[in-house]
C-alpha cells in the first residue's frame, strides 16, 4: 500500500512530543503518521525493523542555498568543483556531479541519503524566482520552499522611508503570492543598495543614499510587516558588517531592535499532534551567527565574539539562530551581500562574480577553502561550534553550515559529531592552528549534546522556527511520514568513538519520506513526489489596489514587462499554498 509503513522497535527521539529515546513503533498511512494500523493494513505495510537503532523525524534544513541564479552561477564558475565527484545514472536516478555546488539531482539524493527530507532555500531575489522554482522543481525527493530577499527592495525602502507600513505589508503579501515564496529574508539591510555605488553602510543608523533609510528602520519595518501579516517564519536576518572583525556588536544591536516584538503566526493549516506548542515563538531568525560574531578590530587581533552574543540570547527569548558552521575544506561562498563578496575577493584573490538584481538586491559568488592551518579559519571553526554549544537552550539554535558558504551540507555529519563528542573536538583542535583554542571559548566547553538535543537542532526546531511544524519535524499523529533511522544504539552510545557516529550520520540506515522508503544506507531506492510550499497571504483588495498602482507606475524601470514578472504555479512541483492572514 502506497505510503503505508511501520517502523518498529526503534529508540524514538521526537522533541516536539517530548519523546526521548523511548522504544516505540511509528505507523504511517497514506503518507501521514497515524496512531496505529489495522491488522489488514499491517499485513500490506512495509515494515522496518529499527531495533537497536535511533529513530527521528526526517531532517529539516531551514537555511541552505540549493536553487536559483547564484547557486547556478557557482556551478558554472567552478568546473573544478565537479570533475572529481561524478554520480552515474541508474535505472532510477539521474546522473550528477559537483561537491560544494552539486547539480540539483545530486543535491536531492545527497540530502536524502543523510536522512533529510525538507530543505528551504534561504535567498530568492524576486526577479530570479522563476529560475529558483525551476531548480527546486527539478530537485528530487525534497520538500522545499524559500525566503524572498526584500531588505534592499526599492518599493519597500520607499514605503519604509515614508513610514507606510500598511502599503509595505500589502506589497510583501503580493510578492509572496506572485513569486510563490514563503518568508522574508533581509540581507545587509540598506547596505546592498549602497553597493550599487561602490559603498556600504557600517552602522545601524547610517541612512543609505537616495532612499535615506537606515538598517534599523529596515529591520524594524520588515519585522512589523512580518508580524502584521502573520507569516510562518520570523524575519530571516543576515546582519550588517558580516565577516568583519568587530561585527558582533552590530549583530547584537540588530537583535535588540526586535526585542519585545510579539511574534504572530497566522496560518490556516491542519496541525499535527504535538505535546509542546509547535507555533513559532521568536521574532527574529538570525542567519549564520558565526559569520556575524567576530570580535577584535582587524584580522590580526580578531577573536570570537560568540560568548557575548550567546549571553544576550541566553537572557532573551525573541531570538533563534542558525550556526553557519565551517567544517573545513572546500566551500563556495554565495550571498545577496555583494560588498561582502568583494571583501572576500580582496582577501583571497580568488575568481569571483557580483551582480546587481535591478531594483531588488545584489548578489555575489566566490570559491573559498577553509584550512585548519589558517588562524582565522580555525577560529571560525571553533566559533561555529560555540554558536551551538554556548547558547543553553537548544530551542534557540539550528545546525547549519549555511551550505555551501561555510561548507557543503554533506559535511553536516562532521558538525553533528563535533557537537556530540568532546573527543572529536579535541582531535580537531590538535590539528588546528592554535588560534582556535586561544581566541575562543570552545576548548573550555565540555558540553556534549544528546541525541534528543540533536533532534531539536536538526528537525524539531528548524521546523518550528519556519512554521513547518504543522507537518514536519515531529512524529505526532497527522505529521508527514518523514522518518530517519540512524544506525546508532542510544544504549551503547560512546561519544569517544566518533568514527562510528560520523559513519551513522553520513548514511542513514533508512530515510522515509511520506511513508515511502527513499534511501537505504545512502542508496536511493524510490523517488516519491515532492512539494513546494509558499505563503498565500491575504490582504484587503482595496489596499492591494493602491499598492499595485505604485508598482505599475515604477515598473517601467524594470527590464521586463509587468505581465512577465510573476512566477506561475506551473513552475512548482505540487504547489502547496499555505493560507496566511485569512479573515475568519
Amino acid at each position: 500500500m502506497a505510503g503505508t509503513i511501520a517502523v518498529k522497535n526503534g529508540y524514538v527521539f521526537d522533541p516536539l512530543n517530548e519523546i526521548n529515546g523511548e522504544i516505540m513503533d511509528i505507523f504511517i498511512k497514506d503518507g501521514k503518521v497515524v496512531r496505529e494500523l489495522s491488522t489488514a493494513e499491517l499485513k500490506n505495510a512495509k515494515v522496518i525493523d529499527a531495533s537497536g537503532m535511533t529513530v527521528m523525524p526526517g531532517g529539516v534544513d531551514s537555511h541552505s542555498h540549493v536553487a536559483g541564479a547564484k547557486v547556478n552561477a557557482g556551478r558554472s564558475m567552478r568546473p573544478e568543483d565537479h570533475y572529481k565527484t561524478n554520480l552515474q545514472k541508474t535505472s532510477l536516478t539521474h546522473s550528477g556531479s559537483g561537491y560544494t555546488v552539486p547539480s540539483v539531482y545530486k543535491q536531492g539524493y545527497d540530502y536524502a541519503a543523510m536522512g533529510y527530507t525538507t530543505v528551504f532555500e534561504a535567498a530568492i531575489p524576486p526577479l530570479e524566482a522563476r529560475h529558483t522554482h525551476e531548480e527546486m522543481r527539478a530537485t528530487p525527493l525534497l520538500d522545499m520552499g524559500g525566503y524572498l530577499i526584500l531588505g534592499n527592495n526599492f518599493f519597500l525602502m520607499r514605503y519604509l522611508h515614508d513610514g507606510d507600513i500598511e502599503k509595505a505589508a500589502a506589497y510583501v503579501a503580493w510578492m509572496m503570492k506572485t513569486h510563490k515564496s514563503y518568508g522574508i529574508k533581509c540581507v545587509n539591510p540598506a547596505g546592498v543598495e549602497n553597493w550599487g555605488w561602490g559603498k556600504n553602510v557600517h552602522s545601524l543608523d547610517e541612512a543609505n543614499i537616495h532612499f535615506e533609510v537606515t538598517p534599523r528602520e529596515t529591520i524594524k519595518g520588515l519585522s512589523e510587516v512580518n508580524e502584521l501579516l502573520g507569516l510562518p517564519v520570523p524575519l530571516h536576518l543576515h546582519a550588517n558588517n558580516l565577516g568583519h572583525p568587530g561585527c558582533y556588536e552590530i549583530t547584537k544591536d540588530s537583535l535588540k531592535i526586535l526585542d519585545g516584538v510579539k511574534p504572530r503566526q497566522d496560518m490556516d493549516v491542519e496541525w499535527a499532534e504535538t505535546k509542546i506548542d509547535p507555533s513559532r515563538n521568536r521574532s527574529v531568525y538570525l542567519a549564520h551567527l558565526m559569520f556575524n560574531s567576530f570580535a577584535g578590530t582587524t584580522w590580526g587581533d580578531c577573536e570570537s565574539g560568540v560568548k557575548d552574543i550567546a549571553e544576550y540570547i541566553n537572557n532573551k527569548d525573541h531570538v533563534v539562530i542558525d550556526s553557519g558552521c565551517t567544517p573545513f575544506g572546500e566551500a563556495t561562498v554565495m550571498t545577496g551581500d555583494g560588498p561582502a563578496i568583494q571583501d572576500m575577493y580582496k582577501l583571497t584573490g580568488n575568481k569571483w562574480s557580483n551582480t546587481d538584481v535591478e531594483m531588488e538586491g545584489g548578489s555575489g559568488v566566490i570559491p573559498f577553502t577553509y584550512f585548519k592551518a589558517n588562524p582565522v579559519h580555525s577560529l571560525q571553526w571553533a566559533m561555529g561550534l560555540e554558536c551551538l554549544l554556548l547558547i543553553n537552550d537548544p530551542w534557540k539554535t539550528i545546525m547549519t553550515t549555511d551550505s555551501p558558504n561555510g561548507g557543503p551540507f554533506t559535511k553536516y555529519p562532521e558538525v553533528m559529531t563535533w557537537i556530540m563528542s568532546e573527543a572529536f573536538r579535541k582531535q580537531t583542535f590538535s590539528e588546528c592552528h592554535k588560534w582556535a583554542n586561544d581566541r575562543s571559548e570552545l576548548g573550555g566547553i565540555n558540553r556534549e549534546l544528546s541525541l534528543y538535543d540533536l533532534a531539536i537542532l536538526t528537525r524539531a526546531n528548524p521546523a518550528k522556527t519556519i512554521g513547518m511544524a504543522h507537518r514536519k519535524g515531529s512524529l505526532g499523529v497527522g505529521a508527514d511520514g518523514d522518518v530517519t533511522v540512524y544506525n546508532i544504539n542510544p544504549q551503547q552510545l560512546d561519544t569517544n568513538n566518533y568514527e562510528a557516529l560520523l559513519q551513522a550520520f553520513r548514511k542513514a540506515e533508512y530515510t522515509v519520506k511520506g511513508g515511502e522508503i527513499v534511501a537505504v544506507k545512502g542508496d536511493i531506492v524510490s523517488l516519491p513526489e515532492k512539494r513546494t510550499y509558499y505563503s498565500d497571504v491575504h490582504v484587503e483588495d482595496e489596499r492591494e489596489k493602491e499598492m499595485l498602482a505604485d508598482v505599475k507606475e515604477w515598473f517601467r524601470y524594470y527590464t521586463l514587462g509587468f505581465a512577465n514578472y510573476p512566477t506561475p504555479e506551473k513552475y512548482l512541483q505540487n504547489p502547496t499554498p499555505i493560507k496566511i492572514n485569512v479573515v475568519r
Binding site: R78, P79, E80
Partner: protein, 301 residues
Amino acid sequence: MTEGVLINENEVESKLEAVIKPGSFTGENAGEMAEVILIPKKAIDIKLEADVITPDSFAGKSAEEIGKLSVWQGPKTYPLSEFFEVTGNGGSSAAETLIRIKGDAMRIKRIGESMSAGKIEIEGSAGMHVGTGMKGGELVVYGDADSWAGMEMTGGLLHIKGNAGDHVGCAYRGKWHGMKGGRIVIEGSARHQLGGGMDGGEILVEGDVKSFCGIRQNGGLIFVKGSALRGVGAEMAGGTIVIGGKIERFSPGFEFVSMENSITSGEVELIGEFKKFTGDYAISKRAKGALYVVADTNPEL
C-alpha cells in the same frame, strides 16, 4: 599520425649547460617486475577513457581478469579486451607491475591516471591526460603526449620522449593548484600553459614552449632549455622558472634583480650567465616567483 599534438621539431637553440646528477631523470630500478603487454587490436574511433590502465588496477590480476576491466567509449562501457590483446599477468603489487603498450595510444585517454607505483611504457604516443594525478612510479611515453599530461601530478616520473601538448602538469580548468610533486621530463617541445598553477615538483623541457608557461605558479621548478613565446610566469607568486632560449615577449610584471652564474634547484644545477627577475607584480605586491633567463639570448632584457 598524432593529430593531438601539433609541434614542429624546432631546432633547440640553447647555450645552457645543464649538469644533472646521474640517475635523477630515470625511475628507481625496480626489481623483478611482472609484465603485462597490451597490443592494440584495431583503430579506435571515439576516444577511450582508460583510467583502468594502471599498475594499481592490474596488480594481482591475471591476463583474463585484466581483459575484463571496463573502459568507457562515449556513453558505453566495454571490456579492455575489446580493444587490446592482453598477455601476461599483473605482479603481486602495483610496484611489481610493468605495463607495456605495444603500439600507438593517441586515442586512449587517461593512461596511468592516479598510479601510485610500478611502471608503464607506451611504445607510441599517448592520448590526453596521460599520467594525470600520478602519485608514484614511472610512466614512459616513447612518442608524443596529447594535452593535459601529468595534470595535478603529486609524485613519480612522467617521461615523454617526443613532444607534449598544452597544459602539461597544469591544474584542471578553473582550479588554482596544478602539479604538486614528482617530475615530468619532455625531450621534445611543449605547447601552451605548461605547469599552470604548479605548486611543487619539476618539469624539464628539452625543446621550446609556447605561451603562459608557469602561469599562476606557486612553487616548484620549470626548466625549459629552448625558447618561450610570451606570458612566461604570468601571475606567478612563487617557484622558479628557467628559460634557456629566448623569450619572445617578456611579461611586464617582472623586475630585474641581479645577474647570476649558476642556479641550483634540488638535483638540478645549471651553469651559465643568467638574468634573474622576480614577480609577477602585476597581481600581488608580495610575489616571490623567480624567473631566470639566459643572458646571451636575451640581450634586450
